[in-house]
């Protein structure tokens, strides 16, 4: 399997696992830990593993990290992910006006939108890369 494709699968799995972990941890903290000291970093700590790919899977001698085609695929995936991020962020900012009207909204809403959008960028990027390579290795190494 191509190294870029491996990275995409790794990233997708880590993000999905980290998101589930964050949701469960936040739910437990809100239900059973209310009023007690709780670090906001704990639910999101697993997201850091996305950046550990090179440490966990170091480049072997003679292995090619990526070529022109891989760069092209990564660039296209980046463009797609940012475009989708923009649509989602714009809609997230406009929908409250339609729903709430001339009211006010909690300040954490913006942070939540930004965090959600950041996760969305990563997920869209990985899916775009995987789709372009064709879900499996197809004999490439």
């Amino acid at each position: 399997m191509n190294r870029v494709l491996k990275y995409a699968w790794y990233q997708l799995i880590v993000i999905i696992a980290a998101t589930i972990f964050a949701v469960v941890t936040l739910f437990i903290a809100a239900k059973y830990w209310r009023g007690k000291e709780f670090s906001a970093v704990i639910p999101f700590c697993l997201f850091a593993f996305v950046h550990f790919y090179r440490v966990i899977f170091p480049l072997k001698p003679g292995e090619i990290a990526f070529d022109e085609r891989d760069v092209d695929i990564k660039n296209r995936a980046t463009r797609i992910s940012f475009t989708i991020f923009w649509y989602v962020f714009a809609l997230s900012c406009l929908i409250p006006i339609l729903v709430i009207g001339n009211g006010s909204i909690h300040v954490m809403y913006l942070g939540g939108v930004l965090l959600g959008a950041a996760i969305l960028i990563r997920i869209t990027w990985t899916i775009a890369v995987i789709v372009q390579y064709g879900w499996s290795d197809k004999g490439e190494k």
């Binding site: 980046t78 991020f85 942070g111």
Partner: protein, 155 residues
């Protein structure tokens, strides 16, 4: 000067004018109405948006640049080099807009505190600001790569 440079200059000028107008409006509104209402001065920035998205308004001049600066009649209109420049420019623009969102979200959180509330009407201004950051950085990146002046390149 090629077509991409002309369009980039057009967008840069349009967005910069609307940005300056917006800041002036905020200062004036602040002196007259005070802080919450003063932020509506930023709504004036939106006149620069049509320059990017081809809607309407004063900044529509920027959008019209796509029509004003017509494609050349030569056989090659867009090669790999242009594609690379555009890709880099879009990437930098997207990064700038994302950075803008992060700064806005964190600043709001620090100002109002974790339990504070903001007016819903502030949200579209965030999107407008993000669009402006995108358009500005995209235009600057295009000009920085092609060069700010003609240098003999034509299309």
């Amino acid at each position: 000067m090629n077509r991409a440079q002309k369009i980039a200059w057009s967008c840069l000028i349009t967005v910069s004018i609307s940005l300056i107008l917006g800041i002036i409006a905020v200062v004036i509104f602040y002196l007259i109405f005070g802080m919450p209402k003063a932020l509506w001065g930023f709504a004036l920035m939106s006149i620069g948006l049509p320059g990017v998205f081809g809607l309407m308004g004063i900044g529509g001049l920027g959008a019209l640049s796509q029509l004003i600066f017509k494609k050349g009649q030569g056989k090659v209109r867009f090669d790999e080099r242009d594609q690379l420049f555009y890709m880099r420019a879009w990437f930098l623009g997207y990064c700038a807009s994302y950075l803008f969102f992060v700064i806005v979200c964190m600043t709001t959180w620090f100002i109002y505190g974790p339990k504070g509330t903001i007016s819903v009407n502030m949200l579209p201004l965030t999107v407008i600001g993000g669009f402006m950051a995108l358009a500005l950085v995209h235009s600057i990146a295009i000009l920085a790569q092609y060069g700010w002046t003609g240098k003999g390149g034509k299309s």
